[in-house]
Assembly symmetry: C2
Homo-oligomer: 315 residues x 2
C-alpha cells in the first residue's frame, strides 16, 4: 500500500540526488488548445527522464537495507539509465539487460554510468530471461521498471512537485501522463488523489501499444493487439499492481496515433524549444485531439523525458 | 553614443513585451570543459531569439515618436520575426524583405505575426534594394538588423539580465557571444563594460563567414573571404558602427568550423535537452576548441535562438 507518507518519504530520499525540475508554459500552445497547460519538464531531470526518481527510490533502499551487493533490471532505455545512475550514486554494481534495438544514445548513457550492459532480443521473455541469468550469476537485486511499489512511489514525486508548485492556489482540472507499464501513471494518480482530489487524472496511450486502455476496461491485464509505435518508452503492458491503482484512481485512458504523437512532439520542439522524446508528446497529442473536452481547463502534463536518438526523428 | 542609461531605458521599454529568460547550467558540459558555464537562454525568448529585444526597442520608439506609419527591414530570419512581432505589438504594418533561401519556418513565423513578406535574391544588394523599394512605396521606417543604436541597446539587455542574475556575487571571467553583423556583440560588450568591467568579452565567428575577425585586426570593415556556414544567422558583415564598439570593448574574436559548430549544437541538444540554432552553438564551440584558455573560468554564454528548420539538421 503506497500511502502519502510513502511518497513523502520517497521524495525526501531522492531529493538530494535529483533536480526539482522546471514547469514551463507556452502562450502559442495554450491559444491553440484553448486551455492553460503546465508542462512538468522531466526531460531536464537527471538522466534526462523522470525514471531517475523511481530508480533512485528503489536502489537507495536496497543500499540502506543491505538487501544485496548489486542491482539489475531490464529496460528499453530510461529505466536502464535510472538504475545505472542510482547504482553509481550508492557505489553498487549494476547489470542492465537491454533489447538490442534500444536507441544507441540510451545504451551509451548506461555504459557512461559505469554499468554493465547485457544485450537481448527485444521481447519481454528474452528480457526477463536475461535478468534471471544475471541474478543467478551475480546475486543482484531486481529493480523492476514499474511493478515495484518503491519505483511507483519514486515516480509519484514528479506530480507531487507539480501540484505543490502550481496547483496550490487553484487546483488543476486535469493532470495527464502517458502510460506504458503504468509506473508513472500509478504514482501520478496516487499523488493527485492525496494532494489534489478534485483533479482528474487522464492517461494517454499510443494506438500502437494499446494494452492499458483494454485492461482498464476489462479489469484484467491485457496484451496490446499489436505493438508498433514511435513512443518507444510505452511499449510495455501493465502489471496487476499498476492496473489496480490505475483502475482506482485514473478517470480515463485515451489513445493517439503515431502521426498525432509526432505532430505534438514537433509542436513542442518548434514552439517551446525543448527536446522531448516521443513518449512525452502523447499527453499533448491527447489534448490536441480532444480540444473540446479540455477547453478552458487548467492542465498539468508530465513531460517524461528527452532522450531521443537524433539520427532517427519521426519528422 | 550608447550609455548605460540608454541600455537601462531600453530594458524598461521592452520589459513588458519580453521574457526574462532562464539561465541554465549543465554538469556534464562543465565537466567536459573544466569551466563553469552559464547559458542565457534566448531560445526561450519571444520569437525564439534575442532579436525580439532589439526589434522591440526600435519599433516601440518609432511608434512613441510617430516617426512613421509602418516599419520595414531585411533579414535572413530572426530579425525579420522580431520586427514583425514588435510591429504587431504597437499595431503598425511591417514589410519584411527576406532572401528566398531563408528557412521556411522563419518565413512562416513572419507571416504568422501578420507582416508582409517580400522575397528577394540572397545577396546584400538585393536585400537593400528590396527595402528601398518598400520605403518608396509605403514610407515605412527602416529598422536595420544591427546598424542602429536602438537595436544595439535592445540586444544589450540580454547580457544585462545575465550579469544582474548570475554575475553579482562573483563576476564572470568571460562572456561569449557569436558575431554576425555585430548588434548582439556590441550590446553585450557595452553592457559588460558598464556593469562588469573586469569581465572579458570574446566573440565566436564561423570560419565560413570570417569577416569580423579580419575587420577586428585591420580596423576597417572587411568582407569574409567566403560565405559558407550552417550558422545562417551570422553571415552578415559588421558595420562601421558595430566595428567601432567591438574594437573598443571586445577582447578577442575566435573562429570555429561548421563541424565544430554542429558538434557543440548536438552536445547542447543531447545533454541540455534544449533546441538551439547553429549560430547559438558558436560560443560553446569556441570553448570546446580552446579548453586550456577557458579552464577554471566562470563563463556566460548568450544562447541566441532556437529557430531551426527541423527538416535540415546538420547532424
Amino acid at each position: 500500500m503506497i500511502t502519502f507518507d510513502t511518497i513523502r518519504e520517497a521524495h525526501d530520499r531522492v531529493r538530494p540526488h535529483i533536480h526539482h525540475t522546471a514547469v514551463l508554459t507556452n502562450h502559442t500552445i495554450n491559444d491553440r488548445v484553448g486551455a492553460e497547460l503546465f508542462f512538468k519538464c522531466e526531460n531536464f531531470q537527471k538522466i534526462g527522464a523522470f525514471k531517475a526518481r523511481g530508480g533512485l527510490n528503489a536502489v537507495l533502499q536496497v543500499a540502506e537495507r543491505n538487501e544485496g551487493n548489486a542491482v539489475t533490471t531490464h529496460s528499453s532505455g530510461n529505466h536502464a539509465q535510472a538504475v545505472a545512475f542510482a547504482a553509481r550514486q550508492v557505489g553498487l554494481p549494476a547489470y542492465i539487460v537491454m533489447p538490442r534495438t534500444a536507441p544507441a544514445v540510451k545504451k551509451a548513457a548506461v555504459l557512461g554510468y559505469g554499468a554493465e550492459v547485457i544485450e537481448c532480443e527485444p521481447t519481454l521473455e528474452a528480457r526477463e530471461a536475461g535478468v534471471q541469468a544475471v541474478i543467478e550469476r551475480t546475486g543482484a537485486v531486481l529493480v523492476h521498471p514499474f511493478d515495484d511499489d518503491r519505483v511507483i512511489a519514486g515516480q509519484a514525486t514528479a506530480a507531487k512537485e507539480l501540484i505543490a508548485d502550481f496547483g496550490a492556489d487553484k487546483p488543476f482540472d486535469t493532470i495527464l501522463a502517458p502510460v506504458g507499464g503504468g509506473g508513472l501513471l500509478s504514482g501520478t494518480a496516487l499523488t493527485t488523489y492525496y494532494l489534489s482530489p478534485s483533479t482528474r487524472v487522464i492517461a494517454g496511450e499510443p494506438e500502437g501499444a494499446a494494452d492499458a486502455v483494454l485492461s482498464f476496461q476489462s479489469g484484467r491485464v491485457e496484451k496490446a493487439p499489436y505493438i508498433k509505435t514511435i513512443a518507444d518508452g510505452l511499449m510495455t503492458s501493465l502489471s496487476e499492481r499498476t492496473l489496480a491503482i490505475i483502475r482506482q484512481h485514473v478517470s480515463e485512458i485515451l489513445t493517439v496515433s503515431d502521426d498525432e504523437i509526432a505532430a505534438a512532439m514537433r509542436l513542442v520542439w518548434e514552439r517551446m524549444k525543448i527536446i522531448i522524446e516521443p513518449s512525452s508528446a502523447v499527453p499533448l497529442a491527447v489534448v490536441l485531439k480532444h480540444t473540446d473536452q479540455f477547453a478552458g481547463q487548467k492542465i498539468g502534463i508530465i513531460i517524461t523525458g528527452g532522450n531521443v536518438d537524433l539520427g532517427k526523428l519521426p519528422f
